[in-house]
């Protein structure tokens, strides 16, 4: 089977705002995903991470509009018309969601659902599509595929449904997969299985992966590079290893400090306050009101990225003061 040429995804200054609001929910986000790379986007609710995924595929909710530039290879995604975009979706760029029940049509048998994807994108006949569908099911780890293909989504457990969802997404062999919290609704062990599956498939098909999660640990598992989002903008970006070993933004450190295993035995250093209202952001750093290191300069004007090491950048004016905050992390994992 031929592998399609691999492209890079480039997001430049993506801004998304809802009609009637002066305050964009995504503010000038830029990042790149090299061909075949796995990139993670971490953030809490309101960070804009899920909307970023949808903006790339032009699946924004009603009333939201995205500006900026998003290119995937030769395609400039924000400028394509609906028909061209529709042709790309599923076949070149696919997406999987958190709750497979909403992505799976409850009245379609799963085998038919997957076959449908194959037929609409690859133009195969019914029988050939069916065979491919069964192949996909086996590939995602559903044993006894021939029998299970006749079942309906509600007869599967959560983990199995997510596998079916992945099979549908990958059936037409996309080169870029956007995964929006694919394991959040799943149990711990199943989560690991599904992440492993995504990792294996990615390597096998040479696919690029954008993995969005509120859980840093999920992203740490299989992403080469990671971006941390807060209140609609990227605050830190870099290779996963580097960011985990030496986080360069108070919010990133705060997120890590919120995990019990990261501070083994000691008290959790919780970030005070709550994620902000997009209508009430300060002109400068959105995290400043919750930051123990914030000074007036932080709030006064937008903070630009500074490069802390190759490929690793952070939007913080107080980078030189982070050692103390990082100490609690170092003490914990004994590294």
């Amino acid at each position: 089977m031929s592998v399609r040429p691999r492209d890079a995804l480039r997001v430049e200054a993506l801004t998304v705002a809802f009609r009637g609001s002066d305050h964009p929910v995504i503010r000038g986000v830029s990042f790149e995903i090299a061909p075949g790379e796995a990139f993670g986007l971490v953030g809490e609710s309101g960070s804009g991470k899920s909307l970023t995924c949808r903006a790339i595929l032009r699946l924004l909710p009603r009333g939201a509009a995205g500006t900026g530039r998003v290119t995937y290879g030769a395609h400039s995604l924000l400028e394509l018309d609906d028909a061209e975009m529709q042709a790309l979706r599923g076949s070149t760029i696919a997406m999987i969601f958190q709750d497979p029940m909403t992505a799976l049509n409850p009245v379609l048998r799963v085998g038919d659902a997957i076959a449908q994807v194959i037929r609409s994108h690859e133009g195969l006949g019914a029988r050939a599509a069916r065979t491919r569908a069964l192949e996909m099911m086996e590939r995602v780890g559903i044993r006894d595929a021939a029998r299970r293909a006749a079942a309906y989504p509600h007869e599967f457990s959560g983990g199995m449904r997510q596998r079916v969802h992945i099979a549908m997404a990958l059936a037409a062999r996309p080169t870029l997969l956007l995964a929006d919290e694919p394991t959040t609704a799943l149990d711990v062990v199943v989560q690991a299985e599904i992440l492993r599956l995504l990792d294996d498939l990615r390597r096998e098909q040479g696919m690029s992966l954008l993995l969005v999660s509120h859980d840093f640990r999920v992203v740490a598992g299989l992403c080469d590079r990671v971006g941390v989002m807060y209140a609609g903008e990227l605050v830190e970006l870099g290779p996963t290893r580097a960011v985990l070993r030496r986080p360069e933004h108070p919010y990133t450190i705060g997120l890590m400090n919120s995990l019990p295993e990261a501070v083994a035995g000691e008290r959790l250093r919780a970030i005070p306050g709550a994620p902000p209202d997009p209508e009430r952001l300060p002109p400068g750093c959105a995290f400043a009101p919750r930051c123990e290191l914030a000074v007036d300069a932080c709030i006064a004007a937008p903070v630009a990225f500074s490069q802390t090491s190759p490929g690793h950048r952070s939007r913080c004016l107080r980078i030189d003061r982070l050692d103390d905050m990082r100490r609690s992390l170092a003490a914990a994992d004994g590294a």
């Binding site: 919780a270 005070p272 306050g273 709550a274 209202d277 009430r280 009101p289």
Partner: protein, 287 residues
């Protein structure tokens, strides 16, 4: 104590929602209050006595002396329409309130306890709803005899079922919510849980239904009046007025038009209120 430094709160939710209430609610409210005021002050503003006969030479068209004309017995129609408003508003109100209370209480019990009380209610509902509403009301009034009091009895016996069904459905959904479980854990009595915690959260759809029921009751009263089983003459009631005037639709249409318009206008205002409230409820639930 790790206090939350900034407790960011918006304006209290209630005020925010009411501000977006549209024109239809305002029109509906103003309209119905106007009708109610006219009804309340009828004795003071009506030009004549509603039962006074022979004020004019029977069936005179609208004129300066009689704005709505006179009916076949020479009675002033404007006066009768105004006085009839009192009866019809009363029919609508009482015809909703009594079944609402009955149905809500029964539905609340059935929904909260579920089990056999719910099963019994289910069967009763099935039986009553097997019959068309008006037919059943007519049958009961026919058995009990005509008159407003029997009309109310009949309506109550039939209407409560719809309210019970609505409230029971809502209650079944809400009884599993966290705050009901918390109330049980807190050792609150069943009565307290049902009436203080469950009821306020399940009653709104029943109230919305009550608005359309109000209209239905007025029409039922009119229908019964048409058959002579409702309000007895000479008490004016819009339906009875239409019934009595049906022979004169061609020759003296004003006898039928004005009470008819009164019914339509009143129902319209109530519907506006009902629609707006259900809209609000829908928006609140979606948020």
């Amino acid at each position: 104590m790790s206090a939350v430094s900034t407790v960011a709160l918006g304006r209290p939710a209630r005020r925010r929602r009411l501000a977006t209430v549209g024109w239809s609610l305002r029109i509906g409210l103003v309209g119905i209050l106007t009708v109610a005021a006219l009804a309340a002050f009828a004795p003071m503003i009506a030009p004549y006595d509603p039962t006074a006969l022979g004020l004019a030479q029977g069936l005179t068209p609208p004129s300066a002396a009689h704005w709505f004309g006179t009916d076949q017995l020479g009675r002033d129609i404007l006066t009768r329409v105004l006085y009839a408003a009192r009866i019809d508003l009363q029919i609508g109100t009482i015809g909703v309130i009594i079944p609402l209370i009955m149905g809500a209480v029964i539905g609340l019990f059935a929904g909260y306890y579920a089990g056999w009380s719910d099963a019994i209610l289910g069967r009763v509902v099935d039986v009553v709803t097997a019959f068309p509403f008006l037919v059943l009301v007519l049958a009961i009034v026919a058995m009990l005899g005509p008159g407003l009091r029997n009309f109310y009895i009949a309506i109550s016996l039939v209407s409560w079922v719809a309210y019970a069904r609505i409230v029971r459905g809502e209650a079944l959904g809400v009884r599993g919510r966290g705050y009901i479980l918390a109330a049980r854990s807190l050792g609150y009595s069943d009565a307290r849980i049902m009436f203080r915690h469950l009821l306020p959260n399940v009653i709104v759809p029943a109230l919305v239904f009550g608005m359309s029921d109000f209209v239905l009751d007025i029409l039922a009263g009119a229908s019964l009046g048409f058959f002579g089983l409702g309000v007895q003459p000479p008490t004016p009631e819009w339906g009875v007025m239409i019934a009595e005037g049906r022979n004169f639709i061609i020759t003296a249409p004003w006898v039928v038009i004005f009470p008819g318009v009164a019914i339509i206008v009143t129902s319209f205002f109530v519907s506006l209120i009902g629609d707006s409230v259900s809209d609000i409820v829908r928006r609140v639930r979606a948020s």
